[in-house]
């Protein structure tokens, strides 16, 4: 920028420029300060908000996890007595009721997340690959497939709640009345079946996101690659294995991680599906901690559990990025 400020500026040129080129030294210096300061200025709103809503609360949450924060102290939480590591030791004593329930909830969440992410990815990728070529009705189908993702969570999940009703739901009507697969109508939102109910809803809502991302990723694969492969006699299956999947690797790396984190931390789906108390077999960790905090009013223990959860997610994300980025130059995420 500064190189263009010629010392002998002609009158005609001068009217074009906003900064007067006459005092060459002054503007140059403030210009540089501006150039250095500008990026930070642009980042300031985002930084301030992230600090206020995410980072400061996280630090407070960590402090709270070391306090004995029961309902007696919630009015003025600063005066709550320090509890040292008590909240943590309660959480990780897996042979006592609190720790045992937390561990159970943790394993349920892991199983649920792995199944849900796997199915979402599989269905989403299969649909995107099947719809890579143009065919009649492709545009309509694509819009249709995105509907579950576009629906607000509560509206979608409440519809499933209706379908899973014991007496007047669609699922029991089809399985029991029409197909006669069960002796008597099953309960879906309590008991062991609730795990599968939750999984179904989660996959129904989640797979279109994988579909969307993979579809976008497929559009960046040049068509010549497929033409060349076809000329070399590669079949569809080989094209999928040798071209499509390898080209999608960077997309999948981010997609799977994002799906994992979203599913693992999902609160909305189980909360709307089961209400405040989830059945044991579908006791996801976020609802479990919510319950530990707000139903028993023991926020210290709830915070300790949240911190443990965060540590776990940090480790998983770190290891995942290390493993999947091996051999690639940068891990941008």
């Amino acid at each position: 920028m500064t190189t263009t400020t010629a010392a002998s500026a002609e009158p005609g040129e001068r009217t074009v420029r906003k900064s007067s080129p006459g005092a060459a030294r002054g503007p140059r210096r403030t210009g540089r300060i501006k150039r250095i300061g500008l990026p930070y200025l642009l980042l300031l709103p985002a930084l301030a908000l992230e600090l206020l809503v995410h980072l400061v609360p996280m630090v407070i949450g960590i402090v709270m996890s070391f306090k004995e924060l029961t309902q007696f102290y919630i009015r003025d939480w600063g005066t709550a007595p320090w509890a040292g590591l008590d909240n943590y030791s309660v959480s990780v004593h897996f042979d006592e009721p609190v720790g045992e329930a937390l561990l159970h909830s943790f394993f349920v969440t892991i199983g649920f997340t792995l199944l849900s992410v796997g199915l979402c990815w599989l269905i989403g990728t299969a649909a995107a690959v099947y719809m890579q070529d143009n065919f009649v009705g492709r545009g309509v189908l694509r819009a249709l497939f995105l509907v579950p993702y576009a629906l607000p969570v509560y509206a979608a999940v409440i519809t499933w709640v209706f379908m899973f009703q014991h007496d007047n739901g669609l699922v029991n009507h089809v399985l029991h009345d029409q197909l006669h697969l069960t002796d008597k109508p099953s309960f879906w939102l309590i008991g062991d079946n609730s795990f599968y109910a939750l999984l179904t809803v989660s996959v129904w809502k989640g797979w279109p996101f994988a579909f969307l991302i993979v579809m976008a990723g497929l559009q960046n694969i040049p068509g010549e690659l497929y033409e060349a492969a076809a000329l070399d006699g590669a079949g569809l299956w080989q094209q999928l294995r040798r071209i499509t999947l390898p080209s999608l690797r960077p997309v999948n790396q981010v997609l799977v991680l994002v799906l994992f984190l979203w599913t693992f931390n999902d609160f909305n789906t189980p909360f709307v599906l089961f209400g405040r108390t989830a059945p044991e077999s579908a006791d996801l960790i976020s609802v479990h901690i919510y319950q530990a905090s707000f139903v028993t009013w023991n926020f210290g223990t709830g915070s300790a559990m949240s911190v443990l959860l965060l540590l776990f997610l940090l480790v998983v994300t770190g290891v995942y990025l290390l493993l999947t980025s091996r051999g690639r130059k940068t891990a941008d995420v």
Binding site: A155, M215, N268
Partner: protein, 290 residues
């Protein structure tokens, strides 16, 4: 927009087995996707007897009664307005802030750039439950100290929601801005535009699909959130996410009204999303997945 940049996979026609497996797979998937949608739509038009007794695929009669009743059973109109204000404001703020941040990261090299992007993105992995209570305490304390009511107000909810969509928005826009040639904004700078002029006259217009995509995402995030809405709102500021649960806490569960209300609150987002989804796909293609 299905016709854009369709990559011809192979010059030959695909084998019959492929076509058949595709037909079967896509038909099953369509069924899976559509059944709940059908239940929602058909049940919202059924008389109460149909939804209280055994499930019926075909309604015994059609009625628009549920669509009239939903507005008086719970104050749905108020929830609707609250949701519109909260989601609209959160989206507008989130997009503007994300544009500034993404421009800084995309066009400047500065100390702390990597720390910034990693920190912002890592907030995505925080379990919401971890900062729900601290945030609640912060808002209450800010309210006590300054008189600015954040807890229980729409403002507090707007502030919270806009940070939810911010990380993903910034990340997606960085990719999108990177794909806008630098020569364009350098030419604008030479022409006498300041950096902000270059941003708003050159980069933003060239990145409209990405910005629309980000706005759609931000709006959907704010419209559908349940956890913070259930803790941080009161009777006057309640949003749809919490308000809809009002139908099922009554003694009789009016499933036809619940389905009608679900449909009504879904229509704005689903219609908007379907109209703008081509931008979302284009935005993702150019930005995030590159």
């Amino acid at each position: 927009m299905s016709s854009t940049s369709t990559t011809p996979r192979s010059p030959m026609a695909p084998p019959r087995s492929f076509l058949w497996s595709r037909r079967i797979f896509l038909t099953l998937l369509t069924g899976f996707v559509l059944v709940p949608v059908y239940v929602m739509v058909s049940s919202s038009l059924k008389p109460l007897a149909d939804v209280s007794g055994k499930f019926r695929w075909i309604p015994s009669g059609l009625t628009l009664r549920p669509y009239v009743d939903i507005w008086s059973t719970v104050p749905l109109a108020r929830y609707f307005v609250n949701s519109l204000i909260v989601a609209g404001a959160a989206t507008a703020c989130s997009v503007v802030i994300a544009v500034f941040s993404a421009y800084a990261v995309s066009r400047y090299s500065f100390r702390g750039k990597r720390v910034f992007t990693v920190t912002v993105l890592s907030t995505q992995m925080f379990p919401g439950i971890l900062f729900l209570l601290p945030l609640f305490l912060i808002y209450v304390n800010i309210g006590n100290a300054t008189g600015i009511a954040l807890f229980g107000s729409r403002g507090g909810l707007i502030l919270t929601y806009l940070t939810f969509s911010l990380p993903f928005s910034i990340w997606m826009l960085i990719g999108y801005f990177d794909s806008v040639p630098r020569d364009l904004d350098e030419a604008a700078l030479v022409d006498g535009c300041g950096p902000l002029g270059a941003l708003f006259r050159v980069v933003v217009p060239a990145a409209i699909p990405g910005i629309v995509a980000v706005a759609v995402y931000a709006f959907m995030t704010a419209w559908g959130e349940v956890l913070f809405a259930s803790v941080m709102t009161n009777d006057t500021t309640r949003t749809l996410a919490v308000g809809l649960q009002g139908y099922s806490t009554l003694n009789d569960v009016y499933w036809n009204q619940i389905m009608a209300a679900s449909l009504v609150v879904s229509v704005p987002v689903v219609a908007g999303f379907l109209l703008l989804q081509r931008y979302l796909v284009a935005g993702l293609t150019a930005g995030a997945v590159k």
